[in-house]
Subunit: 286 residues, 2 copies
């Protein structure tokens, strides 16, 4: 494994679950003085300093970005675009910027439309999270064995793409895969957005009252784990990737219909075929 360049100054923007976990996981690869944290919430910045996971902390980019060679933005999509736009004059020449958003086409198109040539933006998506948010939820092993998708464009310098791959390795990710932005947004609508649509819909489909928890087993708890959803983040992700997501919802509706038809007909053979198909796919996936 190629090591991260230890002479790199890193700025992490947004010290929530993802940004905080990035800081913790990168800590062990960097010397003191190399991690700068930026968050609009002063208390969060102070907490991160107290926890010792950042060396310097700021509530805006002006001073913080001057020395940063690598900027990891861990904000929601709209805020990610806004941050780069608002700080366009504050970045160091040659700086590499990456993000952590769950959609890529919009992010890349918008940011590349105003990014100066001497800076490089490499799209990234660590497939890790939790059903809770904020710095207090951050942990050093959030990315352990997780998937990390990178979406390079022809504009990106190869060494910068390699740098982001090495960062992903350094924080513990297992599979680091490159995809075209449009492939990413299509696949992710199935593997991440659809399960969130399902969790929320399953929770909301309940007509019973307070005591439903008395009658659940593991399958319900797992299927609704993410139902206490981060409203601002997921409404952005759903609307920015609505075409792909609607396609996947419709495919899922067809899949549910097949099952319904087999149950209606009490057709055990048809059920068994559907079960076997799912079993094979599930086992192949793990």
């Amino acid at each position: 494994m190629e090591e991260i360049d230890f002479n790199l100054n890193i700025a992490i923007v947004g010290l929530g679950l993802i940004g905080g976990s990035f800081a913790m996981a990168l800590r062990q690869h960097l010397k003191p003085g190399q991690i700068c944290g930026i968050d609009i919430d002063e208390r969060t910045v102070n907490d991160a300093l107290e926890m010792g996971i950042i060396d310097k902390g700021f509530t805006s980019g002006e001073i913080a970005l001057r020395e940063a060679d690598l900027i990891i933005i861990a904000l929601y999509p709209e805020e990610t675009i806004g941050f780069v736009k608002n700080n366009i004059g504050n970045f160091k020449k040659g700086a590499v910027i990456t993000d952590t958003c769950g959609i890529k086409i919009d992010i890349l198109e918008q940011i590349n439309s105003f990014l100066p040539d001497e800076m490089d933006f490499v799209g990234g998506h660590p497939m890790a999270g939790k059903e809770t948010k904020g710095l207090q939820s951050a942990c050093i092993d959030l990315f352990k064995d997780a998937n990390y998708i990178i979406t390079p464009t022809p504009r990106n310098k190869e060494k910068n793409v390699r740098l982001i791959k090495n960062v992903a390795k350094a924080i513990g990710c297992k599979n680091i895969v490159s995809l075209l932005p449009e492939e990413h947004d299509r696949i992710i609508s199935y593997t991440s957005q659809l399960p969130h649509v399902i969790a929320v819909s399953l929770m909301n489909s309940d007509i019973t009252e307070d005591n439903i928890g008395l009658f659940t087993g593991g399958s319900f708890k797992d299927a609704t784990r993410v139902a206490d959803i981060n409203t601002r983040l997921w409404s952005q992700l759903f609307t920015l990737n609505s075409k792909n997501l609607l396609d996947e919802i419709e495919r899922f509706e067809e899949s549910i219909k097949k099952m319904k038809k087999a149950i209606e007909a009490e057709d055990v053979n048809a059920l068994n075929n559907l079960f076997n198909e799912a079993s094979v796919k599930k086992c192949r996936m793990v």
Copy 2:
């Protein structure tokens, strides 16, 4: 907590995940000689004897049931009904029988139609399981903090219902709730069967190939945990409770449609309302 009567001889029928875990969890409350295991597979019986989780083992009921005061049947629904029917002459007078099936109306109606008056069948449903099956998956803490639903009928003697409640407590269950059989079958179609329908449908809705595991995060893994489904068990559960399950699937389809409509319209307010509804319900449930 009322203790189990230690002078009770217990027979466990079916030494799979559920029956094996019952034996392990009950072991600590019973003296040697009190647990008898029955399984049609001789190797499983021998394995259970070697593991020391049963005292005696049989591949059929004739001898095994003669001394049993309490019979815990951990078989699939049709096999549960078949076992009681085929062994109707083998039970001890006054024996209490319970089951572990995920549906209750059919089980109770059929078994009570041929059960002699001097025997009592108390319907039970431990809400615990795993995505794997068989004795090798059994574990002593499978039922720890799980829910246990009992569905007493007017036919049941109160002391026998109390006995099953105490067994549920003894194996580690947290919430032991009594429901009418029809309430059970309706609620369970939402809290257990629907999540299984969803897991299978989500898995089957995939058009991509082998490498999907490279692009998943926790939400997809959780939503499809049970997709490698026990075909025989779940085709019985789905068809025996088809009316309730179809109602729940339709309610879920409506719930998905609401979400779809909000995404189609890119209506962030509507999305936020749906998210908030789910969050409140999820938090209240935990």
